[in-house]
C-alpha cells in the first residue's frame, strides 16, 4: 500500500457539490500536480461531511484541520501555505459566528462537538465509492457475525435489545417488525429499504446513501437473514442521482466481493438487492404505496390489514425499513444491542440524525443522542439564529409534523416528548423558523404540499385537505371569518380519524400544531387582518407600514424626501403620528426590523429619515378645533398615550382636559428619556401643537390626591387613564434601603426635575456607579451618570445579545466609556453609615431556556465578588403606580399592577366610562406603542359615545390629497444605511447636548433612494 504524507478529504455530498467542491477538487489536483506533490498527497472525495452551510469543506489529515467555504481561487495559496510551507491557512478556518474566533479542528467546532456519530460514523472519513475503506472501518463485520454466528432468532433478539425504533418517523420497534416477518410463512419474502425521502427540508437519507452506502447494504443483508429473504429492493427517489449512482457502485462492489448475491461468505445464504427508482410521488414513502409502486402500479396506499409482514410486496411477507434504521444495524450486531441502548432516553434509544435547516446559522446534518434538548440542537450545534433574529419554533416531521415553539426549547427530543408537544419525530427534518415566519402561512404551505401530494384515493385527504387549504389561503389573504379556526380544528380531527393512510391522517398536524401554539396569530389574521410576521402580503401595502403600531405611511414620506417635498412629507407623517420628531429620535423602529431592504444589505434608516423631515420641513400650521360636542373627556397622564388620545378627541370636537402630576407634560419622554437623546424644545414643540388644538393640560395635579378619583369620574363623561409606568422594580436583595441606591426611572426623574443642581454639583451621584439591568432605562441612567462624571459599570445577568436595550444605545454607551459586565447579578448591597459602598455580585452561567427563548442565568458557586461603588442604580424594569384609582370605582387592577381591560376591548376597562392605555395597561413599552394606544382609545371612546347617542360612526374629514411620486432606481446597488453623524464621544461626556446630529440633505436623499418601494402596485 502506498503511503502518503497527507490525505485531503474533500466533501462530495450533494450540498458541497452544489457549492462547488468538484471545481475546487479539480483545481486542487492541478495545483498539487504542478508543484509535484501528487505523489505525496492524496485527495479523497468523501460523502457528506454534514456541515453543509460551510461547504465546500476539506479536512486535512493527519493534522485534522478543517477548511471551509473554499473557493477555487483560494487553492494556490492553500497549497503554498499548508502543503509547501507547512503553515495552516487560518483564513479558511471555521469562524465562530458570535465570537469570531477561528477554530482549526473539527473536535473543537461546536457544530461537531455536541454530536454523537453512529449512523454517520463514516461520514466525511471514507470514500463511499471504495468498499475497502468501508471494510477498514469495521464494515461488513456485523454482517459476517450475523451470517456465521447467529440464528435468525438471535438477530431479532439483538435488534429488540437495542431498542431501535423505525427512523422513518413512526417509531415502530424494528426488532418487532422483523419478528413478525420472520414468523410469517412463505416461499418468498422481501427486504425493502425506504429511501423515498420526501419531506421538505429533509436530507438525512440522501446523505447516508451518498456518504456510506455500504452501511445500508450491510443492514439489509442482516435483515434478510433475520426474516429469511433472498431478495431486497432499495426504493430511492429519482431526484437523488448521486445517491443512486453511489449505491449502484456499492452494490456492484459488494457483489464482486461476494457480500451479496449467491452463497454469501460461503454460508449458503443468498440475498441480492435491486434499486427501484421512485418517480417523485411523496405518497410512495408510505409503505403500501411504495410496494404498489414497485409492483409497477400507480403508487397508492392500500388498507391494512393485511400488514406487509404477512402480505407485502406482490402479496409476499415483506419488511420495509428506512435508510437510517438499516444503517444502524451493522453496528448493533457487531457491538451489541446493549451498547446501542446505552444512549438515549427510556423509550427512545440510540441516536437520531436530523437535517437541521431553515433560519439557523449552521445548516447541516447532525446526529445526536435521543433526548438531546431542542435548545442544544438549535443553539449549540446550530449556532443560533442568523441576523440577531429570535427563534420562533422548530418544525419537526415536515408536512406530517408540527411545531415546537420557543417555550419548549428545553424539551428533550425523543419520540414521546415530540408527540406530547404535538409534533412527530418524522424522518428527522428539523426546520428552524425565526420571528419573521408566519405560523398561518407555514400551515398553509404544508397543507398546500399535502394537497399536491395527496394521491387522491380517499375522500378526507383528497377533498378535505383541499378545503382546509382554501380556509388557510383565505385567512392568509384577509378573507378569514370568525369560526374558521374552529372549522379547521373540526375538520382536522375528522380527517385524522378517517383518512386511509399516514399521509392523510397526519396532513392536518401542522394546522393543529400552529393553532395550538399560535392561535393568536390566526385570530389577528382573521379579526385585525394583520400578519405580525409580515409575511401574508395580501394583508399589507408595505412591511414597514404594517409593522408600525400606528401604521405610518413610511414609503410615502420617504418617496417625498426623494422628491424634495418635505412639507408634504411632514403632513403625511402627521396623519398618523402627533410626535414625528420624537419618534424620529427615540422610536424603537420595529418597521426597520421587517424592512425588505434588510434582506439585501441593511434596512432603510426610517427613523433617521423621519427625523430629517421634522428637522428640516416647515412645520404644518395648527388651527384650534372648536368644541362641537357636549361630552367632556378627562385624561390622566400627559405622556404620549394620554396626549395622543387628547389630540384625536379634540380633533373630533370634544373638550379634553389632561391632568399631569409632574410639573411639565411629556411623561417618560420628558422625565425618563435624557435630553441628549430627545432635546426638550423638540418635545415641547409637539406638545404645544396639541395645546394649540384646544386641549387643556393641567400640570402639578395628581388625580386621586388633588382631585379625588370619584369626583374626577363624576366631572367627566368619559375618562382615559394613561399614567404610564414610573416605578422601578426592586432588586430584591439586602441593602436596597441604603442611601445612594436609586431606581432607574427615579434617578432619571430626579435628575430631570433639577438638572441645574446636578450639573452644578449641588446634587451628586458619586464617582463610581453601578447600574443593574439591560434595558433602555439602564442605558439611559448609565449614560446620564457618566455625563455627571461618574465611572459607570453596567451589570447584566445575561449576554449582550439578550439585552432588551436598542443596539445603537449599547454601542453609544460603550463609546462613552461605560463598562458592561455580562453574566453578573447582584446578591447584596453593602453600606457603611447607612450609605451604599459596594455591590456584591455573583458570576452567572446560562442554563435552561426560559419561555422567551433566552437562557436562564444561574449563579456560579464561589464566584462572588464585590465592587466598590458610591451609588447603585437598579434599572431592571418598571411597574405602573395605580394607587390613585379608588377601590370600589369599578376599575380593576391586575396582578401585574396594570389595568384590566374588558373582554376583547383594547382600551375599555371594566368600568363602562373609563378607558385606559399605554404602559399602565401593557407594562413598560415603547413610545409608538403608547401613541397607538392613544389613537385606539380615542376611537373607542368616540365610538362608545356615538353608539350611546344613536349617532352614526365618525367620518373623518377628507385629508389633503398628496400625490406620492413613484421613482425607483433601475438597479439596486448594495450599500448599508447612511451613518448618523454624531457628537464626538469625548464631547458627549461633558454635556447633555443631543448626540445624534441628524442627516444632511444629501445623506437623506441618498438614504431615501435606498427604499425599495414595497408599497408599489404593479
Amino acid at each position: 500500500m502506498k503511503i502518503y504524507r497527507s490525505h485531503l478529504l474533500i466533501c462530495g455530498g450533494t450540498g458541497c457539490h452544489a457549492s462547488g467542491s468538484l471545481a475546487v477538487k479539480k483545481v486542487l489536483v492541478e495545483e498539487l500536480d504542478k508543484r509535484g506533490l501528487a505523489e505525496e498527497i492524496k485527495i479523497v472525495e468523501t460523502g457528506c461531511n454534514g456541515f453543509c452551510a460551510q461547504g465546500p469543506i476539506m479536512v486535512v489529515y493527519p493534522e485534522g484541520i478543517v477548511y471551509m467555504q473554499i473557493k477555487t481561487e483560494d487553492v494556490p495559496e492553500l497549497v503554498e501555505e499548508h502543503f509547501v510551507k507547512g503553515r495552516p491557512l487560518a483564513r479558511l478556518f471555521y469562524k465562530e459566528p458570535t465570537t469570531e474566533e477561528k477554530i482549526p479542528t473539527m473536535q473543537e467546532i461546536p457544530f461537531f462537538a455536541h454530536q454523537e456519530l453512529r449512523v454517520l460514523r463514516n461520514r466525511g472519513l471514507i470514500d463511499p465509492e471504495n468498499i475497502e475503506e468501508y471494510i477498514a472501518r469495521d464494515g461488513y463485520a456485523g454482517m459476517a457475525k450475523a451470517l456465521t454466528e447467529m440464528s435468525a432468532d438471535d438477530i431479532v433478539k439483538e435488534v429488540l435489545a437495542s431498542g431501535l425504533r423505525g427512523r422513518g418517523g413512526a417509531g415502530f420497534p424494528t426488532g418487532m417488525k422483523w419478528q413478525f416477518a420472520s414468523r410469517s410463512m412463505g416461499d418468498m419474502k422481501y427486504v425493502l429499504c425506504n429511501a423515498d425521502e420526501g419531506d421538505p427540508g429533509a436530507f438525512m437519507d440522501r446523505s447516508v446513501l451518498e456518504a456510506d452506502p455500504h452501511s445500508v447494504i450491510e443492514g439489509m443483508v442482516i435483515a434478510a437473514k433475520a426474516i429469511g429473504s433472498p431478495q431486497g429492493y432499495i426504493y430511492c427517489r429519482a431526484e437523488y442521482p448521486l445517491a443512486i449512482h453511489r449505491m449502484n457502485i456499492a452494490l456492484d462492489q459488494a457483489r464482486e466481493f461476494g457480500l451479496i448475491g449467491k452463497n454469501i461468505l460461503d454460508t449458503g445464504f443468498n440475498f441480492d438487492i435491486e434499486i427501484y427508482q421512485g418517480a417523485g410521488a411523496f405518497v410512495c414513502g408510505e409503505e403500501t404505496a411504495l410496494m404498489t409502486s414497485i409492483e409497477g402500479k400507480r403508487g397508492m396506499p392500500r388498507p391494512r390489514p393485511p400488514f406487509p409482514a404477512i402480505s407485502g410486496l406482490w402479496g409476499k411477507p415483506s419488511i420495509l425499513n428506512n435508510v437510517e434504521t438499516l444503517a444502524n444495524i451493522g453496528q448493533i450486531i457487531l457491538r451489541g444491542g446493549a451498547w446501542y441502548a446505552s444512549v438515549g432516553t427510556e423509550k427512545s434509544k440510540g441516536t437520531k440524525v436530523f437535517a437541521l435547516t431553515g433560519d439557523v446559522n449552521n445548516v447541516g446534518l447532525v446526529e445526536v443522542p435521543m433526548g438531546t434538548t431542542l435548545g442544544t440542537i438549535v443553539y449549540e450545534i446550530g449556532g443560533g439564529i442568523p441576523g440577531g433574529k429570535r427563534f420562533k419554533a422548530a418544525q419537526l416531521g415536515g408536512p406530517s409534523g408540527g411545531m415546537i415553539p420557543v417555550q419548549h426549547l428545553n424539551a428533550p427530543i425523543d419520540y414521546e416528548k415530540v408527540a406530547e408537544l404535538g409534533a412527530i419525530m418524522g424522518s428527522g427534518g428539523m426546520i428552524v423558523l425565526n420571528e419573521d415566519k408566519c405560523a398561518v402561512d407555514m400551515a398553509r404551505f404544508f397543507m398546500d404540499f399535502c394537497q399536491d401530494e395527496s394521491c387522491g384515493k380517499c375522500t378526507p385527504c383528497r377533498e378535505g385537505t383541499k378545503r382546509m387549504l382554501d380556509l388557510l389561503t383565505n385567512i392568509c389573504s384577509g378573507k378569514g371569518k370568525e369560526g374558521d379556526i374552529e372549522l379547521l380544528e373540526g375538520m382536522a380531527a375528522l380527517i385524522k380519524d378517517s383518512a386511509l393512510c399516514g399521509l392523510g391522517q397526519t396532513a392536518p398536524n401542522p394546522v393543529l400544531s400552529t393553532i395550538r401554539y399560535f392561535r393568536n396569530e390566526y385570530e389577528t389574521h382573521i379579526r385585525d387582518k394583520r400578519c405580525s410576521a409580515v409575511v401574508c402580503s395580501a394583508l399589507f401595502k408595505s412591511p414597514c407600514q404594517h409593522t408600525c403600531p400606528v401604521g405610518m405611511d413610511v414609503p410615502s414620506y420617504i418617496a417625498l424626501i426623494r422628491a424634495g417635498r418635505l412639507e408634504d412629507a411632514y403632513k403625511v407623517m402627521m396623519r398618523t403620528n402627533p410626535f414625528p420628531s420624537v419618534c424620529g429620535r427615540v422610536c424603537d423602529h420595529k418597521c426597520q426590523s421587517k424592512c425588505r431592504r434588510g434582506m439585501l444589505d441593511e434596512a432603510v434608516a426610517i427613523k433617521f429619515l423621519k427625523r430629517f423631515i421634522s428637522d428640516n420641513a416647515p412645520r404644518p400650521k395648527i388651527e384650534p378645533v372648536p368644541v362641537t360636542r357636549k361630552e367632556k373627556i378627562g385624561v390622566v397622564g400627559a405622556g404620549p398615550a394620554g396626549l395622543t388620545a387628547a389630540r384625536d378627541l379634540a380633533k373630533r370636537g370634544y373638550k379634553v382636559d389632561v391632568f399631569e402630576e409632574l410639573p411639565t407634560p411629556g411623561g417618560m419622554l420628558a422625565w425618563g428619556i435624557p435630553s441628549y437623546r430627545l432635546p426638550r424644545e423638540i418635545l415641547n414643540r409637539e406638545i404645544d401643537d396639541i395645546r394649540q388644538l384646544g386641549v387643556d393640560i393641567r400640570c402639578n395635579v395628581r388625580v386621586g390626591k388633588d382631585i379625588p378619583f370619584d369626583k374626577f369620574l363624576k366631572e367627566y363623561d368619559y375618562v382615559y387613564l394613561a399614567p404610564g409606568a414610573h416605578k422601578s422594580q426592586r432588586l430584591g436583595v439586602e441593602g436596597e434601603k441604603l442611601k445612594g441606591v436609586y431606581g432607574g426611572v427615579e434617578f432619571l426623574r430626579a435628575f430631570n426635575m433639577n438638572e441645574a443642581a446636578w450639573l452644578k454639583g449641588e446634587r451628586k451621584i458619586g464617582s463610581r456607579v453601578a447600574v443593574v439591568g439591560g434595558g433602555n432605562s439602564a442605558i439611559d441612567a448609565a449614560r446620564t451618570a457618566a455625563r455627571l462624571g461618574a465611572d459607570v459599570t453596567i451589570l447584566y445577568r445575561r449576554l449582550r445579545a439578550d439585552m432588551p436595550a436598542a443596539e445603537e444605545e449599547i454601542v453609544a454607551a460603550e463609546h462613552e466609556g461605560i463598562k458592561i459586565e455580562y453574566l453578573v447579578a447582584p446578591t447584596k448591597l453593602v453600606g457603611e453609615g447607612g450609605k451604599v459602598t459596594g455591590i456584591s455580585c455573583e458570576r452567572m452561567i446560562l442554563g435552561d431556556f426560559d419561555s422567551s427563548g433566552r437562557r436562564r442565568p444561574a449563579p456560579v458557586k464561589g464566584s462572588e465578588f464585590t465592587l466598590s461603588v458610591d451609588a447603585v442604580i437598579a434599572a431592571i424594569g418598571q411597574t405602573p403606580d395605580l394607587s390613585f384609582v379608588s377601590e370600589g370605582s369599578g376599575v380593576k387592577v391586575n396582578r401585574w399592577s396594570c389595568f384590566d381591560l374588558d373582554g376583547l376591548s383594547k382600551s375599555k376597562t371594566l368600568h363602562e366610562k373609563v378607558y385606559a392605555g399605554g404602559d399602565a395597561v401593557t407594562g413598560p413599552d415603547t413610545v409608538i406603542g403608547a401613541i397607538a394606544a392613544g389613537h385606539r382609545a380615542a376611537e373607542d371612546i368616540d365610538q362608545a359615545i356615538r353608539t350611546a347617542n344613536g349617532e352614526p360612526p365618525y367620518a373623518a374629514p377628507p385629508t389633503e390629497n398628496i400625490v406620492i411620486p413613484f421613482e425607483i432606481d433601475e438597479e439596486t446597488q448594495e450599500r448599508p444605511q447612511a451613518a448618523m453623524p454624531e457628537l464626538d464621544a469625548h464631547e458627549r461626556r461633558k454635556s447633555f447636548i443631543e448626540v445624534e446630529l441628524g442627516y444632511s440633505s444629501e445623506e437623506a436623499f441618498k438614504e431615501a433612494c435606498r427604499c425599495l418601494r414595497c408599497d408599489a402596485e404593479i
Binding site: 410521488a281 388498507p303 390489514p305 395527496s454 384515493k457 375522500t459 378526507p460 378535505g464 383541499k466 386511509l500
Partner: protein, 354 residues
Amino acid sequence: MNKILITIDGRQLEAKPGQTILEVAKENGIYIPTLCYYAATRVVGACRVCVVEVENSRTLVASCAMPVSPGMVVKTDTPRVRESQKLVVELLWSAGDHNCLVCESNGQCELQDLIYWLKIEKPRFKIEAPGYPLEKTNTMIQRDLNKCVLCGRCIRACNEIQVNEVLDFFERGSKMKVGPAFDADYIDSNCVFCGACVDACPTGAIVNKQSRFEGRPWDLQKIRTTCGYCGVGCQMDLNVYDGKVVKVTGNKEYGTPNQGSLCVKGRFGMEFIHHPSRLKTPLIKQANGEFKEADWDEAYDFIAGKLKSIKKKHGADSLAGLSSARCTNEENYLFQKFMRTVIGTNNVDHCARL
C-alpha cells in the same frame, strides 16, 4: 370452519374468519352505508363512507376492508362515525356539480341517497365543481366528470370484471380524474363500450346516452329478458317507458351466465326494436316480385313445401343448411339434426366458421 364471535352495535354475532365487518353486518341486517364498495371487485377502502368505530383502534376503520377478529367490538352508529361520514359526503357533494334537477341518475344516485340518509341540509363548503367539459364524442356513453366522486368503481369494473383495462386514475390530490390513458375520450381509446362503467357508476357521472331525457328512473319498467344477439343467453333488463325500450341494463342478481355484464351489442344495440323498417312478420315474395306479409304457419308451410319439392326433384344433397351464432347450442344441435335426419344431408354449417 372456526367461528369467530364479534359484537356489532351491542349484538353478539357469529362470523367466519376472513369476513369483513361490512359483510358480517350485512348478513345480520345491520346497515352500514357504502360508496366505493363494489361487489366482485377488490376492496379499496377509498371513500371512507363505511367507517365504523372499533374498540382499541386509534382511528375509525373502513368496514369494507377490515377483516373481523375474535372479540372485536364494533359500533356503526355513534356521533363520531356520523360526523365523519357527514364530512366525507359533504366534501364529495361540494366538490362536484351534483345538480339533481337535470341528472339522469336522479332517484337512483347513491350520493343522493347518502345525503338524504345522513340528513344533511346543505354542505358547509362552497360548491366548486371542477368544470370539466361534457364528453359527447360517442353515441352510447356520456361522461360528466363534474359528477364523479372518484370512488373508482368504474375502474375496477373495467379492469377486474371486464378486464378491458381502459380506465384508471390520473393526476393527484383534488385534481385527480378517471379516464382512459392520456385523458382520451372513450371513442379514441381501447374502450369496447361494454358499459360496465355505466352500471358501476353510483352517480350521474357515467350514463347511458341513448336514454338521456327518455324517462326518469322511477318511470321505467324493468323487464327481464335474454339477449338475442348471441347464444350466450345473457340476462338483462329492458328499461321500458311508455311501451318503448329506452335502455338496457345489466343485473347482477340474475347470476349466470353473465353476472350482470353485457357487451356493446346487448347494451346499446337496441335501436332496431322500434325501428320503422323492422320486420315484424314473415314476408313471402309474390310472383310479381313484391313481398306479402304472412303469418308463421303460412311461412313454415311455404318453406316446408319448397324444401320437399327441391329434395324430391334434385335429391337431399341439393340442399344445405347454415345456422347462426345467435342461436343457442341446443338450437344449433336441433338444426343439424334436422338437416341430417329430416332433410337427409350432411350439408350443414354455421356462420361462426366464416
